[in-house]
Amino acid sequence: MIDFSTPPYLLQAHTSVRRVMVQVLVALLPGIGAYVWLIGPSILLQLLVASLAALLAEALMLRLRGRPLGLFLSDGSALVTAWLIALTFPPLAPWWLITVGTLLAIVVAKHLYGGLGQNPFNPAMIAFAACIVSFPALMSQWPVLGLKLTLVEQLEMIFGLAPRIDALSGATPLDALKTALKIGEGNIDIPTLLATQEVFGTFAGRGWEWVTAGYLLGGLWLWQRKVIHWQAPAGFICGLSLLAGALWLWNPERFASPLFHLFSGGAMLGAFFIVTDPVSGCTTTRGRLIFGFLAGVIAYTIRVFGGYPDGVAFAVLLLNLCVPLIDMYTRPPIFGMKDGK
């Protein structure tokens, strides 16, 4: 065994991929806590299902590709993908849907491209987009608000033992708003809707606003720990709220406030946990800003004007496509070359 000894012989202590991933997982905890408070323990079950599926898929692919299992299974990257999938899917989605999504993410979006660090697309978002395109009905069955099911009932639903009752006819606040506007055909305005319908809370979806606030908290912690850079989330929030704000100021009856949009759907999760993914995101400082900003703009466009309830996943995937170009054109000048050539 030749020890290929390479400088530097000193390495910074306490830096490793695993440490980065574990911190991301920890940062998700406040959001998960709020989720449990809102929906019940079923989300924990979904997290478990997704984690198991992800680890199994990862192990299988590593074995097939002849890579060391222990090293890569313990790096935590598969878990991060799994958790993001579980948190973006409806909490009472059948177990196989989550599993299929996770397999797609790990096998196709991650390992076909060479595994950790080499995937051009965000695996979790691939899973979400593929599932919402393939199973639109299942992916829009959210529990009706205030529905308190016992753990057993939730279990039965996830594993398909109980009929998928009307209790699941709920919608995300975003979807509810969109549908109501469509049904109202211009006779109804947003302030009234927000005030009358019980699905809406203080400034966004009832209950959901606290889940997203949990993500915001976790995201800020990640930033404080220097795990993520501020540019991408700032760009995302900026892009989303600028567009939302402009339309809201123009016509507050048809367009909801930026605050509503920021705390609805996957905006906060996207801003701090998805557009910040370094692997599939931009790597230059300006690139991250552009990436976040455009993702915010597209997410808003799709969720308000498009055919899907939320646009974060598609926005991120579309921007993933642009990453090589953005990176190429925003490459910072190097030492000594700042005043042009």
């Binding site: 030749i2 290929f4 390479t6 890579r67 060391p68």
Partner: protein, 180 residues
């Protein structure tokens, strides 16, 4: 029926005229691509590609007559560069890739026949009739053309030895596999 024919004929005449004009206006002289291809080839002039020298091979590639993977001295890197330039698919080398070599003349055996001198395409062998010959190592391209003509088989190809001047940092060993 007549109108259909007339219209198609009219179209043909108009488009034909436009193309004819363009053919004169945008006429291209020569083929600058050959130079670019030739610059990538290693200029060993060894003929291992089946063409008598590097430039004829470059011309053949440019004309689309030859594959890009016929040049063993250029190695896979050369194939890659050609593929890059020409937008073709990288193919494995048609022949085996050899490490870079130089010809060495065994001075005990050499009879001074000058046949190798005549075979060397780059004048890298010095010597005179009935005198011992020797290879100027820095000029030898390792084309092996001198090996065959030697009547006493005194020329051998030796791989280039690593010295401090041509020593290279190695590709880092990927340790992932070792841990497995």
């Amino acid at each position: 029926m007549i109108s259909a024919l007339a219209i198609m004929a009219l179209g043909a005449v108009v488009l034909g005229a436009a193309l004819g004009y363009a053919a004169i206006r945008f006429k291209v002289e020569g083929d600058p691509l050959v130079e670019k291809i030739d610059a990538i080839l290693p200029q060993t002039q060894c003929g291992q590609c089946g063409y008598p020298g590097c430039r004829p091979y470059a011309e053949a590639i440019s004309a689309g007559e030859a594959e890009i993977n016929l040049c063993p001295p250029g190695g896979l890197d050369g194939v890659r560069k050609l593929a890059d330039l020409l937008g073709r698919e990288v193919k494995p080398l048609a022949a085996e890739e050899k490490p870079k070599q130089v010809a060495i003349i065994d001075e005990q055996t050499c009879i001074g026949c000058t046949l190798c001198i005549q075979a060397c395409p780059v004048d890298a062998i010095v010597g005179a009739a009935k005198q011992m010959h020797t290879v100027v190592e820095s000029l030898c391209t390792g084309c092996e053309l001198c090996v065959k003509p030697c009547p006493v088989e005194c020329i051998t190809m030796e791989p280039l030895t690593e010295k401090l001047d041509n020593w290279k940092w190695k590709y880092p060993v990927i340790e992932i596999r070792r841990v497995a």
